[in-house]
Symmetry: C2
Subunit: 191 residues, 2 copies
DNA sequence: ACTGTTGGTCAACGCTTGTTGGCAACGGTA
DNA sequence: TACCGTTGCCAACAAGCGTTGACCAACAGT
């Protein structure tokens, strides 16, 4: 006789983790609306109702999936002369380590909470650096924004739209080209 | 007696135009999946079935709404020294004149056709310029890509995510800051 | 005046979505 | 052993989606 398919019984924490991993993957690949609770549940090999039980609703699931520690290195203490290269390199790392930032970017385009969180992260990561090295402190927010646009644009091209020429560039090339731009946005006296 | 709500009867071309305008607005504001045929029809004050009649299906509607003449100025003939400023200025114009580019960007994140069209436009607009002024012709595609990332990033920040600091910058400031970056990507000997 | 075409509405279809509530089995504890 | 919270599945709901086909009224040409 075949077993009547006894369901696996894990700890709830483990299950939550599996769901979150699947959610991150789906959100990153499909964006907010096309990443359905059902598809995420299928990936996690669990019933959709469990997702609801643990995370309340879809928005709650997304918030949980995109909440993560930033663990940014001590950028403020780094030498100002290479801050551009360090920043670009840092963000390439973050984007390639896990899918959360890609998910955030894809979701942020259509979902307000995602957009908010994306901005918050960029502000927290770039803001202090700009405040530290910008020659005119009152210009720091604008300088930070400029840096943000360049980093955002490369991320869009490379990880979201996957423009072939952007994917083809290797890490060092990207850093070599973008670092001077970022450096100039942060430290130039004027445009 | 009140009239039994006699439906307005316009020419089909006019109606198509109204639908397309509503579609562009919705796609630009909501992205592909959240811009529903029903909501577009409601904006155009017409029955959803008319949208189907004229454009076949939702994908067809999007293609029609995002098909437009590029009418790029003769960039190739312009002085190479200011090509950066001209390019940035040109794209700011295009993005602010109508909503198609914003729609394309929002949709492109989740819809393959949108992503394809966005890339095609960027390639057509930036590619020839890069080929014209890049010191090493074989590097032209890479240089064009770099320009694309900077323009894409500013567009994301300013028109899609609407980051306050990006919206607050005025046109001339944006051009002043971005132009040297674009200029360098196009004409620098090496990073 | 008749007729075919055109611009328009209405009602429904099949499907998918987020979400809910009930029920079964397991496992620790008393 | 009897209990009870936990983990899980199942079936269903209401709402919204893209899409379809039947039908109606105004027009244009003869």
């Amino acid at each position: 006789m075949a077993d009547p398919v006894a369901p696996v019984r894990r700890s709830s924490e483990v299950t939550k983790g599996v769901i979150l991993a699947a959610a991150r993957e789906r959100f990153a690949a499909d964006g907010y609306e096309r990443a359905t609770i059902r598809s995420i549940a299928r990936d996690a090999e669990i019933d959709p109702s469990m997702v609801m039980r643990y995370f309340g609703n879809k928005e709650g699931l997304f918030v949980a999936a995109s909440a993560f520690e930033l663990r940014l290195p001590e950028l403020g203490a780094l030498p100002g002369k290479h801050i551009g290269a360090v920043l670009v390199s840092h963000f390439l790392d973050r984007w390639e380590q896990d899918e959360v930032l890609t998910a955030l970017l894809r979701v942020g385009v259509t979902n307000a909470a995602g957009a908010e969180r994306m901005q918050e992260i960029l502000r927290q990561q770039i803001g202090p650096v700009a405040a530290g090295v910008c020659p005119y402190p009152e210009q720091a927010p604008q300088r930070a924004l400029l840096v943000t646009t360049q980093i955002l644009g490369m991320a869009m091209a490379r990880y979201v739209l996957r423009i072939p020429a952007a994917v083809a560039m290797d890490r060092d090339e990207v850093v070599a080209w973008l670092a001077p731009t970022v450096q100039r946005y942060l430290t130039a006296e004027r445009p």
